[in-house]
Symmetry: D2
Subunit: 375 residues, 4 copies
Amino acid sequence: MPGSSFGRIFRVTTFGESHGRAIGCIIEGMPPNIPLVEEDIQGDLDRRRPGQSEVATPRQETDTVEILSGVFDGLTMGPSIALLIRNKDSRPSAYEDLKHKFRPGHADYSYLVKYGIRDWRGSGRASGRETATRVAAGAVAKKLLAAHGITVTGYVSELAGLKAERLEMDTIESNIVRCPDPDKVDEMIARVIAARDAGDSVGGVVEVRVSGMKAGLGDPVFDKLEARLAYGIMSIGSVKGFEVGIGFACKDMNGSEFNDPFTIDETGKVRTTTNNSGGILGGISTGEDVVVRAAIRPPASIAKKQQTVNWDKKAEDIEVHGRHDPSIAPRAVPVLEAMVAMTIADCLLIQDVYLRERETFGTLHDAAAIFDDEL
Amino acid sequence: MPGSSFGRIFRVTTFGESHGRAIGCIIEGMPPNIPLVEEDIQGDLDRRRPGQSEVATPRQETDTVEILSGVFDGLTMGPSIALLIRNKDSRPSAYEDLKHKFRPGHADYSYLVKYGIRDWRGSGRASGRETATRVAAGAVAKKLLAAHGITVTGYVSELAGLKAERLEMDTIESNIVRCPDPDKVDEMIARVIAARDAGDSVGGVVEVRVSGMKAGLGDPVFDKLEARLAYGIMSIGSVKGFEVGIGFACKDMNGSEFNDPFTIDETGKVRTTTNNSGGILGGISTGEDVVVRAAIRPPASIAKKQQTVNWDKKAEDIEVHGRHDPSIAPRAVPVLEAMVAMTIADCLLIQDVYLRERETFGTLHDAAAIFDDEL
Amino acid sequence: MPGSSFGRIFRVTTFGESHGRAIGCIIEGMPPNIPLVEEDIQGDLDRRRPGQSEVATPRQETDTVEILSGVFDGLTMGPSIALLIRNKDSRPSAYEDLKHKFRPGHADYSYLVKYGIRDWRGSGRASGRETATRVAAGAVAKKLLAAHGITVTGYVSELAGLKAERLEMDTIESNIVRCPDPDKVDEMIARVIAARDAGDSVGGVVEVRVSGMKAGLGDPVFDKLEARLAYGIMSIGSVKGFEVGIGFACKDMNGSEFNDPFTIDETGKVRTTTNNSGGILGGISTGEDVVVRAAIRPPASIAKKQQTVNWDKKAEDIEVHGRHDPSIAPRAVPVLEAMVAMTIADCLLIQDVYLRERETFGTLHDAAAIFDDEL
Amino acid sequence: MPGSSFGRIFRVTTFGESHGRAIGCIIEGMPPNIPLVEEDIQGDLDRRRPGQSEVATPRQETDTVEILSGVFDGLTMGPSIALLIRNKDSRPSAYEDLKHKFRPGHADYSYLVKYGIRDWRGSGRASGRETATRVAAGAVAKKLLAAHGITVTGYVSELAGLKAERLEMDTIESNIVRCPDPDKVDEMIARVIAARDAGDSVGGVVEVRVSGMKAGLGDPVFDKLEARLAYGIMSIGSVKGFEVGIGFACKDMNGSEFNDPFTIDETGKVRTTTNNSGGILGGISTGEDVVVRAAIRPPASIAKKQQTVNWDKKAEDIEVHGRHDPSIAPRAVPVLEAMVAMTIADCLLIQDVYLRERETFGTLHDAAAIFDDEL
């Protein structure tokens, strides 16, 4: 149980250390008869992989995925799907010097205290490298969602103190910082490079938008849709904050401003005229776009001299050289998408139970049936 | 499975609708031989209960808790503990008029679409009333934590656009808005009353601080401590955002500002000189205070006229009169504390496994043992 | 987590000690819009309750159930359902004398060692009294199954060394030992009474048959249908053995005898001409009746003098007087039915996911579709 | 969630089809600092692997295991451990002829109906080949148990109608049927060979004995130790019955015969003079040996002509030629051991929580402490 599994029906279990032999995952709960080949997964892995641009770490990993099980003649079969990615460009020796020091902002100290042992080869299991397995599993979830008309799109809405003002979705993947505002791209890149050259790093914000949402996803009380989304997103190693809908801005609003008024659109569907709630009411999706946001801290590995302590509890200085990201937000985009996709897929499958049983038991109120086209 | 359970070892399952017969919960995983009587639980219930002040709903519930099982001669026994609270001041009839309309900001629409049936008596299961059972379970978790020297304290750090500047912990419970800054209390109260009198409501922020933390709590990858905390807190009905440590402010920082430098304190313990990470590194606690924050939206029930639709998909106006909170943040304080306490208790019990096995297997590095006093 | 929950989607969590205030349970995952009133549950509780006949304990409990939540206007709503049964005829004082002795065959010793505390009031949580909450939850599961045409019927197939040779289903509930062979009833009863009068008790076998089964229930590998059934049934306090289909008799058979040949029946459905496998192949139901069997040990509480030790690790004699069952099998019948019903209901709801998704993704082989009427 | 995971703290998730690329598993919850190398696992895999003797299938698989993660410098680290076994001797083409027929006793029909797709390459996920991953995970569990002084030993107690009368534990692995009674070995082998030569197969019984047990393992109500053991063992593909302790024989016993009297042994420990209950009382271990037994059906794949139907719902004859086991029991021994080891390991880790908390909260009764040496 402890830590490497996520989800209830659509359930993913991952493994692997940054400089170990391989990373990978097992996916349970993916329904059968869905076309799935390695190319479906490789695309998102390429969006996340290191070495893709000058704002990312230069570590060279192709992150080539192999489907080991669960797919036959190009179709999923129902039982567990295993995905494997071999590590190709490990350099554990690069970490020898740091072996006995706790890098500030890293898990070195907390892992050693927790487990009484620590993989010092580049953070081991605590490395961001594990997120490649999330992306792989997320790509599988996206295949399921796509067939239901649901799309998950992420982008960098803030980076290094600059904020995207426009949202041009089709420009996101055309720039290396995955910013949807073409006017901000160059300055964002410049700030990242400048930080890197100064031996430092920068933070940012990633936003994810889910379109084509079904109403009725999420569960009451503890498993509200936003709770499951926060659980998934806050489990990504660099995330320090989470928002749904208008998020923290709600604190200064009145109820009359915040509440999203209901209306009927031209097609006869129930809609809200605003979306402050981010497509979720009472923990259950309404069919509006689900919008979430994550604060991404500046990467912990920086060349600048920092103060720390070592295994002998002595003070020491530390400089973390090597192959590191000056900003994480651009590469975090597919990782956040993956966590959102896995969460929505899981909720969709759970909702299938109610929808299927509805065929047997119907709905109480005749009125309820008139909303069936929102499902 | 769907929705009413929280936790892994320390696991709580709740039930109850706002205007049904009773609410309550079953707690599994509470260790044996811990003193527990109803008074231990009643205190926090009183802090949350309706009717406690002029900034809260006037509904009168004593929220008297009965321990039905799991305790013998004043001590926990190990097996499941059941807690029961009878509803005393239900008034379902007050909701008859709203039965066929979807209140904006409420779960009326999403529940009806999801389930094909809806308890229209004051939100039913989606009502904030369910949080009383969280508070009861949280009080039990606090008993466990207290014996380990861990305390969980919440307060309103922002309300109706005003921010607490000082943190005087011993003043929190002496004012009805649970604000730790005595200079801001009167103005906060005035703003809440003004909003209420205008038929409106206000938002705010609640912060929770965990002191006396053990290092080593939390699990890697998906079950990071902040992920579990976010899961619990974002499942509270009015929360739209979550932060750990410095939270969203990290987006504009450099790594050299954000990283918390390690040092050795006068007692020989490893500490950090700042706490931007909120007491968690790599998902595992370091022993520093854990600090989390939640954005609380303005309550959805307001007397002001709003636009909505009804069960026949026709546009209608709506005014939600009755007994409602003009602000949720003050009463949300014990609810957030409860979710934090349950989460920390659960992580503490899981960590017991590693600590107990350490007695058999030891630690790899001799060095690791010198940190055992942080556990 | 530890011990009081069962199931995945249809999930039941129970509480209560034999001589505590109350027992009860929370049921999650019951779909909405299913008619449910207390009478639906009371019937099975009456079949299990103490004091019902001369072959049962004379303890007088009406086991009156109260639905506390989850049902509105006579229909389930989807969220958790809570059921409460108050203990009415507790007599803790009857156990004072046995407080410091370990009753052979009981959990006195193992509970004390495990927890370092023990509820000596009639076995506390380890009492068979907890099975009333299973029966209550099972009655709810049966409501779901009934709507799908599935019925669960149990009976005593062996008692006190006598075996039922005929299976007349409609006679089961007309005799106090729940034996389906009218010719064996009197002798069975005589043997139970004789054992009781000798200060002793007798064992037996309960068989449960599920008719109207759907094909496709159960999951591969670890969650095979027979594994889930065994899990549920072996968790009943007096069960020492479990069989599915022909059970242990398979050990002396050849494959050519054991394998159930496939055939097509007059309605065009795939059937097997024998049912040695008990309606399950590869862990998945085939649509044939599921048949399981449990060995029920003789009750541990007997008046005869036995050898034991006390809390001071001294040898002592013990005689367990009071209100006890001379045989458990007849009252165990509704308990086994409940565990089977809960397990089948859970598997049915999980299978809903695949059936619903089939509407989107179809089946690979055209051939597969021709079996859809078996689902 | 559906089907490929087992355990709560010590949790194993498996993947792989019989004639796919690879099989393997992820193990969560294994404590850190335990020595683990591939040789620790390979031994049990060799005991299970095909091609090991004339009573087993001639398929040639070395079942060479690779540890992909979770181990560093020969020690476990705490996070997830991944194990990989490549399939080397797949021959999917051997199944082409059977593609459209349902083999009696196999999962062909039930999988097709459940999923709407079927891997016809030798049962795919439903093949006994998946049990290799159980054995690998079980070997890891055994490493944990061994350090706690617990050993798990299985053997064939009945085969082809012959029953072992003696239990000479050190002879088990010296004969190809893993029978502990040297006098029965030759005749058992002869009967298996005779059945095979007749195009048929034989059933048997495997017994597993756990020595060095700790008292206190297992949880109350649903997660009784015998329930978890039954769950694990009944999930093995050929098992049709399960017994703990004296098993089904209890049905004909009186309570005075069945109850195991307590006594104090020469070392001052609490013991029972008999072990009809199989080392478990009230679902919790007492410290006596845990003894369980499984009925193993004759393998379904037989050369003899059988009656069946095909995908077009037409009657057909079938003969299953190829590489099959004439008896499963001998190779099932390490598989049963694995399920028992995983289950005991999981219960041991959960019990760690109570034992660790006992250091904080003590025990209620002074008396309880005198049993601490049984833990």
